[in-house]
């Protein structure tokens, strides 16, 4: 079942030095070690095998063994994943990590198996916030009339519209140019992406709305999984689990580095009171949370908040 010199294949759209990629590379090393050298892993980083939606499909067909994707492409496949992608559902990174490390996270990962994907673990994606070329966003009123780029996802479009801005779906590679020339006024992302896409060079206001703490997901092809013995499957699961703290450490370090670069460049960063933003999310939550299972998970996540 092994191909390309007895190696598993893994892919990621981020470059080789990105925390998610490095975590999967470490996962592969653990796999090699714990299988007594039977398994290897070839990492195809930087999107050489295609974008997340496409490689995810290929993974479900058995054409790629491992894949690290954002939650967004999974939303089009499995409704349960949508709960973790709701804006403002997690109050903090701590809340997100503790929720996804527990039974709620287990249930979401398990829901992927019917789509021929084995959900192995969640990685961090940090908090996404808005940046723009016009001025600081402190309240939703400040967003009125802004043209804000979103990924091509219904959830993002609905969120930005609920906040009163114009949601402009646009591929990521057109964003820098569009910001520079004024086609759009802003976009939203986490610290590392804001820095690595160089968007901070043109969008000089970063407002910490932290609207999304949706995680990354590390999945395996079910076809490849089914070829493994139960012992080997256990090794895969344990190695994936053990790669999570490594990833989080790499992630936190990356965030610190990116934050430093952005702050040093003189970008104006401001905090916001999330309450005013959260209030506007009620309608869109209702629009996207439609099944009893989704509601149950949402309630469980909210119950898991520090404040109760």
């Amino acid at each position: 079942s092994m191909r390309l010199g007895d190696n598993f294949t893994a892919c990621d759209t981020h470059p080789l030095d990105y925390p998610t990629v490095q975590a999967v590379v470490r996962f592969g090393e653990m796999l090699t070690e714990r299988s007594g050298g039977k398994f290897g892993l070839s990492m195809y980083a930087g999107g050489q095998l295609g974008n997340e939606r496409d490689t995810l499909e290929i993974t479900s067909f058995g054409g790629i063994d491992f894949n690290r994707v954002n939650l967004a492409p999974l939303n089009s496949i499995e409704p349960l994943t949508t709960v973790a992608a709701l804006p403002f559902i997690f109050e903090s990174t701590q809340h997100m990590r503790s929720t996804l490390d527990g039974p709620i996270g287990e249930e979401i990962l398990a829901s992927l198996e019917q789509h021929n994907l084995i959900g192995l673990c969640f990685y961090d994606s940090g908090a996404r916030s808005f940046y723009n070329t016009r001025g600081p966003i402190r309240t939703p009123e400040d967003m009125k009339g802004l043209k804000l780029r979103v990924p091509g996802s219904d959830l993002f479009v609905a969120m930005v519209k609920s906040l009163g801005a114009d949601a402009v779906p646009m591929p990521l590679d057109e964003v820098y140019q569009s910001l520079a020339q004024g086609v759009i006024d802003g976009a939203e992302n986490n610290w590392p992406s804001f820095e690595q896409g160089r968007h901070f060079e043109v969008a000089r206001f970063y407002s910490l709305t932290r609207h999304l703490l949706a995680p990354e997901v590390f999945v395996m092809s079910k076809q490849s999984w089914d070829k493994l013995s139960p012992e080997e499957q256990a090794i895969v699961r344990q190695s994936a689990k053990d790669s999570v703290p490594i990833m989080r450490q790499l992630w936190d370090a990356q965030v610190a580095r990116s934050q430093e670069v952005i702050m040093a460049s003189g970008v104006e960063v401001n905090e916001v009171d999330p309450a005013a933003f959260t209030d506007r999310m009620k309608g869109m939550w209702a629009e996207f949370i439609t099944t009893p299972d989704q509601r149950r998970l949402v309630d469980a996540i909210l119950a898991n908040r520090q404040g109760g």
Binding site: E57, K147, G152, V157, D166, A167, P169, V183
Partner: protein, 151 residues
């Protein structure tokens, strides 16, 4: 065959015109109305896949696909005929793969949705299935034409 091929080109031309309108509307919505249509990008992409594969299928009949003809220039007429039959047999075989796997793709992803359109992802792969089948038909048609012509 010629009628089917012409119909495909006409449909494809309409697709191109529709795509122009969609992107024009996208610019107008964003710049003039301050309200970007959320469906335009995915609609335009879907249109492009459909019309490109339809026109590409017609291209098998009209034989406008780029190819290298060095070998033919060095052959005698009788052999050129055999070679062209062989080429179209290969095209038929490869097109069959496009049709079959295109159909399988459409089936496998029928539960997935295209974001911002709410349509099934199958719509992105159905054109490959159809175009693949049409390419098989057209290449067989070409073989038939070569086969029956006088030498």
């Amino acid at each position: 065959m010629q009628r089917i091929s012409t119909m495909l080109i006409n449909l494809a031309a309409l697709g191109l015109i529709a795509m122009t309108a969609v992107i024009g509307w996208q610019v107008f919505g964003r710049f003039v109305l301050d309200s970007s249509p959320s469906w335009s990008e995915q609609t335009a992409l879907l249109l492009m896949v459909w019309y490109v594969f339809f026109a590409a299928a017609a291209g098998v009949w009209e034989r406008f696909h780029i190819r290298i003809e060095i070998l033919e220039h060095r052959m005698q007429a009788a052999n050129v005929r055999k070679l062209r039959i062989a080429i179209h047999a290969l095209i038929a075989l490869l097109s069959l793969a496009i049709a079959v796997y295109g159909g399988m793709l459409a089936w496998l992803v029928h539960d997935n949705v295209i974001p911002s359109l709410g349509l099934s992802r199958s719509w992105a792969y159905v054109p490959l299935m159809l175009a693949g089948a049409l390419m098989v038909l057209f290449s067989l048609g070409r073989i038939h034409k070569r086969w029956t012509e006088k030498t």
